[in-house]
């Protein structure tokens, strides 16, 4: 089984931080930060490197 894609989201406005999967990332970009409502771009996400990767 391949490792699932994970990202760290940091809201540019309220600075809320959470680890998210691709469907959450897409929902945040489409709807804005769930905590404060600020618009969110793809730049707010950083790919998490899996420790299982070589």
């Amino acid at each position: 089984m391949s490792a699932s894609e994970e990202y760290v989201f940091v809201c540019p406005d309220c600075e809320e931080s959470m680890e998210v999967n691709p469907s959450m990332r897409d929902a945040l970009v489409a709807n804005g930060c769930v905590v404060c409502g600020a618009p969110v771009s793809i730049d707010a996400f950083t790919r998490v490197e899996s420790s299982a990767d070589p």
Binding site: C14, E15, E16, M18, S23, M24, D26, A27, L28, A30, N31, G32, V34, V35, C36, G37, A38
Partner: protein, 150 residues
Amino acid sequence: MGLEQETEMTREETDALLSRHETGVLSLASDDDPYAIPISYGYDADERQFYMRLVSTPDSKKREFLSGSPTVRLVVYEEAGRTYRSVVVSGVLHPIARDEITPEHVEQYGDAKRPLFEIWGDARKDLDIQLYVLRPETISGRRIELELDQ
């Protein structure tokens, strides 16, 4: 101005009113101490649930009243000419922990208005933003038609 007619609204009328508005007054209580606050919400008419972001400071009275899963009432009303409509919702306010947030929640909160941080005197970092869902036990809508005396 006299009272002409008071009618219970249908579910469709009630849902329509709740959907076209986005603010109301949320009432909480602790023993005999009442607490009412203006809030904004997003309403899911299919699930009949309300989604709210409530902002408070850690030691505030508001935070105290919101602790746990409080029983609340939400009032939304409007006045249009001689027609007055109001909806009273009673139910339980459930906090949503950050690790319970789903893509569906993100979509629901996308319909809720942003908190007006500028009305708070405190720095943003000192504000606690908690997500809640209000699951109603009852939703009651009334329409009153007023008759002008003169």
